[in-house]
Each structure stands twice: as C-alpha cells, then as structure tokens.
Amino acid sequence: MVSAIAILRMPGLFTAAMISGIYSLVAAVVFLVMDAVDVAFTEAAVGAGVATILMLATLAHTGVRRSQPVPFSWIGLLVVLVAGAALVFATFDMPAFGEPLAPIHMHVAPRYLLESMAEIGVPNAVTSVLASYRGYDTMGEVTVIFTAGVGVLALLGRGRRAPTEDVKDS
C-alpha cells in the first residue's frame, strides 16, 4: 500500500487517478479483512468506481495530462510532521488492534449487537444502526449527496459553455 503512495508523486495525472482508484480498491480489501463488509462494498463502488470515473472525466475535459512535480514545501512538511507526531503520540495509549475489551466495544455498541434483533428485527446490525438508530445521520448524508448533485448541476449544467465575459475586477 505504501508503494501506491510513492507513485502518487508521479507527474502523470492519468496514472495518479488510476492509482488512487487502486488505492480505494486496496482499502476496500482492508475493510473486508476487518469485517466491514458494507463499508468494503461501498468503498469499492464509490471510492474506486465513481470517484475514479469522475476524475477521468475531469481529465478528459480539461485535457490536462501532466502536472508539475510536487514541489517541496516547508509548511507542508511542518504541518505533516506535527500532525503525524500528534497521532503517533496518541497511539501509545491506544488499545491494541482487535482488543475485544477496548472501551469502544464496551459502551453503546453492545446494545446494537444484543438488542437490535428484538428491537428492529434486522439481522444486519449495520443496516439497523444506519437506518434506524442513527437514521438522522443518514438523512444528513442523503442531503450531502443531494447538495453535491445540486452543486454540480449548478456548475456544469446546460449552458455552461455559453460565452460568459470575464467580469473585470471592480
């Protein structure tokens, strides 16, 4: 996986887009290994599929194929180092990966696993949490998708190519 990232520094945008798609696919496999079947399914369809297609469409539109190589930036490095250090610092008190007694599994979640059959009657706990316990979040999420649809329609909808004079700075 780390190798996928190294290639991201390539100048070819087409390659970069494809690799980002591959990265999503790999991520989907990782999700699958970690038992997140729904997430894996979605990541494969959305991350690897939709996002990559949109990127290719953008590249086709703009006709841009190459980019300047990533310039070295002190600010970028500094931000990344500080943020990365904070996260590594955080890992030292983290419960080990897969630890069944981690606090995350002790609170809130047990009810979804133990009671949801009786309360909702749907075997897929992800579905019951998604659509019922946290249905409001999902409504927000549909709103986000809707917003993106409206936004893209507003930006790229019919009439876009109509000559619009570049308004001068006022």
Binding site: L8, T62, P71, G98, A102
Partner: protein
C-alpha cells in the same frame, strides 16, 4: 497474528494519512490536490474501521452461530463519511472543470499569474 500487530497498523494508517495531507498542502496542481484529499480521507476511514475490529469477531450480521462481532458503529460512520467524501470530490472536480474553462489551466501558480495580470 493479530496480537503482534498491536498499534503498528495505526502507524501505517498515520503514514498514509500524512502523505495525503502533504500532497494536499504542497501540490500546486488542483487535480492532484483532490487526489491527495481522497488519500487523506481514505486513510481516516481505515483508522475508524481499525478501531471497530474485534479479534476473532465476524462481520456484524447477526446470526445464531456466532457470538462475537466487530463493532458496527464505526462501519456506519464511515459509510456516511465515504459518501460525504465522494460528494466533496465531485464538487471539487466540477470546480476544476469550470476553472479550466475560464483560465485554461489547473495549476495554481499559473492562475495566480493570470489573476495578477487583470
């Protein structure tokens, strides 16, 4: 095998995350910025899913022959976040297409020069 992983797998996730963030901050090409953003967000998703994993558990689809499941809540959160991420990507790319229409380039430096000329 999983015990030996400990927190090591979080470190990989952090490295990925920071690579993405670095691309977002320092890259001057807009398409690549979006790719970097995807990478950054994608690794945050892995972080979430990692914490939901239970050693020896199975996917949280309840059935009588299993007793241990991975935590479904992070899965739900990340389903939402993936969709939010792709919505952002779509909007960002649409903006790039429009910017290319009006400026003829997607490099930030070139755009700054064009703006200065006006």
């Amino acid at each position: 095998m999983v015990e030996q992983i400990g927190v090591f797998n979080y470190w990989i996730v952090i490295a990925l995350m920071m690579t993405g963030l670095y691309v977002v901050i320092s890259c001057r090409n807009m398409v690549k910025k979006i790719i970097g953003l995807n990478l950054f967000q994608g690794s945050v998703f892995i972080l979430y899913i990692s914490m939901g994993k239970v050693e020896g558990g199975t996917a949280p689809i309840l059935a009588s022959d299993f007793t241990s499941y991975s935590n479904p809540l992070p899965h739900v959160l990340i389903l939402t976040a993936i969709v939010v991420g792709v919505a952002t990507t779509a909007l960002g790319l649409a903006l790039i297409v429009r910017i290319h229409d009006r400026y003829g380039t997607v490099e930030e430096d070139a755009i700054q020069n064009l703006d200065r000329e006006v």
